[in-house]
């Protein structure tokens, strides 16, 4: 039955080899969100041929990814006809009404073979309305044919084999719709409105090459968007300082990194994994006064010799967020590698330790000149 269906879809395809899209992307901002993801016609997915994107849907990747229990992610930007995003040197690119950011989370059976035996878990959309971004979580059905709008989210045990060949089980969080706002919220001042913002689509994270395959080939993402007329106001990519590319580090670990690169790698990692809350305008992070955005140069707010605000059990028994030279008594390291419910950071989306990420932060704190922070409690 399944084979027949796939065969039928393949036959109906227009030479692309996968299921086809019956027309341009459909985003109706005035209607309630469709129950099925396929109604948007953003992309198709097929276990054999993979993802295929519609016109004006541009896939992208980021230099250092937000860790989500080792899930792989296929990201894309959709812009309506004639519309373009506007460059921003610091914050996320500014998107026009009607834009959609698409992110599909999936697992291969074995991370050593990231293109084989894929299971799509969920696709998260951020849809740009006149009043801001609307987050919409879709969960893929058991047959992997379509994804269904699922505001309640789910916590699902997912088994896979990690890059070292060891079996892992994640308590993977498919966020509730409202949990999107845990990470995507910003408030500029106590009485300002709370605004939903994007995390990954910042120039520094996007400034990298993406291989589009046959016709286009490998292109710098910022330059490619500009050439398509989908990004305005951008300097050439050579003028944009990129965030650290985590891929080599994921493969080999931080041991061999020279000091300057260690600093850059760690700050990029904190920037993408932590700074959506831990910045001075982060709704759920500002109470901590720990600001981990890449632009923060204030040592105290970076956590150096800083006592936590209200960390509760998250301290792990330690006194200071960062003790220079001593990662093993630093709360920041403890919280980012522990798997203890109630103590883990980031707050959402992690049930497993990110081995390489934890190693990086450990090495970064260890490389800081040792300092006595004061009385431990």
């Amino acid at each position: 039955m399944r084979t027949t269906l796939v065969a039928a879809l393949l036959a109906a395809g227009c030479g692309g080899g996968g299921p086809s899209l019956s027309g341009p992307v459909m985003v109706d901002l005035d209607a309630p969100p469709p129950a099925q993801l396929s109604a948007y016609r953003l992309f198709t997915w097929d276990p054999v041929t993979g993802f295929a994107f519609n016109q004006r849907v541009v896939p992208y990747d980021v230099n250092t990814a937000l860790f989500s229990d080792y899930a792989l992610k296929q990201r894309a930007i959709y812009l309506p006809d004639g519309a373009a995003a506007t460059f921003d040197p610091e914050q996320a690119l500014a998107f026009p009404v009607g834009a959609v950011i698409v992110k599909t989370f999936y697992y291969p059976a074995d991370l050593r073979h990231p293109d084989d035996d894929l299971r799509l878990i969920e696709t998260r959309l951020m849809v740009r309305h006149a009043d801001g971004w609307h987050p919409l979580p879709y969960i893929w059905d058991a047959e992997q044919r379509d994804a269904v709008l699922s505001p309640a989210g789910e916590v699902r045990a997912i088994s896979f084999v990690d890059t070292a060949g060891a079996p892992q089980v994640a308590n993977y969080l498919i966020p509730e719709r409202n949990q999107c706002q845990s990470c995507h919220a910003r408030q500029d001042g106590p009485n300002a409105p709370i605004e939903l913002v994007l995390i990954g689509v910042k120039a520094r994270h996007l400034n990298r090459t993406y291989d589009h395959g046959d016709a286009i080939g490998p292109r710098n993402q910022l330059d490619h968007l500009a050439e398509l007329g989908m990004l305005t106001g951008a300097p050439t990519s050579a003028e944009v300082p990129p965030a650290y590319d985590f891929r080599p580090l994921e493969a080999t670990g931080p041991a061999a990194l020279p000091p300057a690169e260690l600093e850059a790698a760690a700050r990029s990692y904190l920037d993408i994994n932590c700074a959506h809350c831990h910045n001075a305008a982060g709704v759920q992070g500002m109470t901590s006064q720990l600001f981990l955005d890449h632009g923060n140069t204030d040592e105290f707010h970076l956590g150096v010799c800083k006592r936590p605000g209200s960390a509760g059990t998250g301290t792990g028994g330690f006194t200071f967020d960062i003790v220079p030279g001593d990662p093993d008594t630093s709360i920041l390291y403890f919280r980012t590698h522990t798997e203890k419910l109630g103590a883990m950071m980031p707050l959402l989306g992690r049930s497993l330790t990110h081995g390489r990420g934890a190693e990086l932060l450990h090495a970064w704190i260890a490389a800081m000149p040792a300092r006595n922070c004061g009385t431990a409690r």
């Binding site: 309630p32 129950a35 709008l149 699922s150 505001p151 309640a152 989210g153 789910e154 916590v155 045990a157 308590n171 969080l173 509730e176 719709r177 409202n178 949990q179 706002q181 845990s182 919220a185 408030q187 106590p190 709370i194 709704v283 759920q284 500002m286 109470t287 006064q289 105290f300 707010h301 010799c305 800083k306 006592r307 936590p308 605000g309 209200s310 960390a311 509760g312 059990t313 998250g314 301290t315 792990g316 028994g317 330690f318 006194t319 709360i331 419910l341 109630g342 883990m344 707050l347 959402l348 992690r350 049930s351 004061g374 009385t375 431990a376 409690r377």
Partner: protein, 457 residues
């Protein structure tokens, strides 16, 4: 009375919430027919999927009436809509149970104005019980936040936790067994906390970096510390204008099971109240009984953070009114202030009995040990002032200063001592133990006048 039933996305998802189709037993106390104004939806007791779908589908003010029974939840209940009212059938009748949570999170996690939670229990949240953040108009009424295992360090941190919010009312509620603070008001403005019971927590009731708080009619019993007021370093809301009055604060001798490194882990067992790095605080008309270390400590923030630079805050970033407080400047240009000082505090008309008989000799800051030595066989004084940065003499009142305007004069029902804590590190020095009216601390009125009662809109 107009009651709109609200079911759009719920029906779309095939999870009818059951407006009207619940068994009568599910809504013995209240239902949508009793709710005025907002849209209303009923969720049958135990239907966790319907509850999660509902709260994640609404975009307009909605009252959600929860039926009797236990809702087992694997993920936090996240509310990000203004005007959500969550109403159960009673504190012992409707329970949100997070004991089986497989995702990290709080119990109920809210950002939304005009939020109300009433008549239910939140049990065993992995992190905080009911956290409401960055919201204006917050009511907790007749609810309980608790953990099933007493004195477990693995329990969540805070039970009832409004933070960075304004116009907050917490009343007739219970907070129990939190590994940090049971009822924790943090960085809020305009707060009333009344007629609650906090028990079995490390800190019972905390008012942190908060402006304009009225705390009365509460019972704090069997915590490590009862009711405490403080500022933490580096936080841009400088606490002020807090009234603690007519509370019962007794038997707060619970073992300190706080995680080392937290502020509360430093609280000596047997503490009634402390005010740390606080100003314009009135502690009046309370009943203190059998708190083994001491009833009331007035202390500088330097006790927890000795590095003054960490108490420096740029005035440009401060929240609320502060220029009438006479805060210590942090630099010559007046661009920064420091808020570690305890100052301008009134302690008056409290009733003291049975406390100070067995100070905690093992607290990590050795405060109890110092008190044990200093007071010997007699009970520790009911009210203590660290007298950091004051002139000190153990016998002659004229050689003691009261630069920080600590007003103990009206607290004739209790004893008082100052500790010269800043100079105790090197040698054990005798304390200053004046008789009432405790000259030079005999003042009766705060600088800037009495703290006004809080009136919520």
């Amino acid at each position: 009375m107009q009651v709109a039933r609200f079911t759009t996305l719920v029906l779309a998802a095939g999870l009818a919430a059951g407006c009207g189709d619940g068994t009568p037993a599910s809504f013995p106390t209240t239902d949508c027919a009793a709710v005025t104004g907002a849209r209303c939806v009923e969720i049958r007791g135990g239907d966790s999927a319907a509850l999660q779908t509902q709260v994640n589908s609404i975009d307009a003010p909605t009252t959600i009436v929860l039926g009797a029974g236990k809702f087992k939840l694997t993920n936090q209940l996240t509310i990000r809509t203004n005007g959500v009212h969550l109403i159960g059938q009673g504190i012992d009748t409707t329970t949100l149970d997070f004991g089986g949570a497989t995702a990290q999170g709080n119990g109920v996690d809210v950002v939304g104005n005009d939020f109300l939670i009433q008549d239910l229990t939140v049990l065993d949240a992995p992190k905080d019980g009911i956290r409401v953040e960055a919201s204006t108009g917050v009511t907790y009424r007749r609810i309980r936040a608790t953990w099933s295992k007493p004195s477990a360090t693995t329990n969540g941190a805070y039970g009832i936790y409004p933070v960075k919010s304004q116009n907050v009312l917490v009343e007739n509620s219970r907070a129990e067994n939190a590994s940090d603070a049971g009822l924790y008001v943090g960085q809020c403005q305009h707060v009333i906390v009344r007629n609650n019971v906090v028990t079995g927590n490390v800190a019972g009731l905390e008012i942190e970096n908060t402006q304009y708080a009225d705390v009365y009619g509460n019972t704090a019993e069997d915590n490590t510390g009862g009711i405490v007021v403080f500022d933490l370093p580096g936080n841009p809301i400088v606490g002020r204008d807090v009234r603690l009055h007519d509370n019962m604060i007794r038997n707060n001798n619970h073992v300190n099971f706080g995680t080392p490194g937290t502020t509360v882990a430093g609280i000596p067992v047997g503490t009634g109240t402390f005010a740390m790095a606080s100003r314009r605080v009135e502690i009046t008309g309370n009943t203190y009984q059998n708190n083994n270390t001491t009833d009331i400590s007035l202390i500088s923030g330097l006790v927890v953070e000795m590095d003054m630079s960490k108490w420096t805050l740029p005035t440009a970033g401060l929240t609320g009114k502060f220029n009438d407080l006479g805060l210590m400047p942090g630099d010559a240009q007046g661009l920064t202030i420091m808020n570690f000082r305890g100052e301008n505090i009134l302690v008056s008309g409290n009733h003291h009995s049975g406390s100070g008989t067995s100070p905690d000799l093992h607290d990590p800051m050795h405060l109890g040990l110092l008190l044990g030595f200093g007071f010997g066989t007699s009970p520790v004084a009911n009210v203590l002032y660290d007298a950091i940065m004051e002139d000190f003499d153990s016998t002659d009142p004229a050689l003691n200063t009261n630069k920080n305007h600590m007003c103990i004069g009206g607290n004739t029902g209790g004893t008082f001592a100052t500790l010269d804590l800043g100079n105790q590190a090197t040698a054990m020095k005798p304390f200053f133990r004046p008789a009432a009216p405790f000259t030079p601390y005999e003042c009766l009125i705060l600088n800037g006048g009495a703290v006004a009662p809080v009136v919520l809109p």
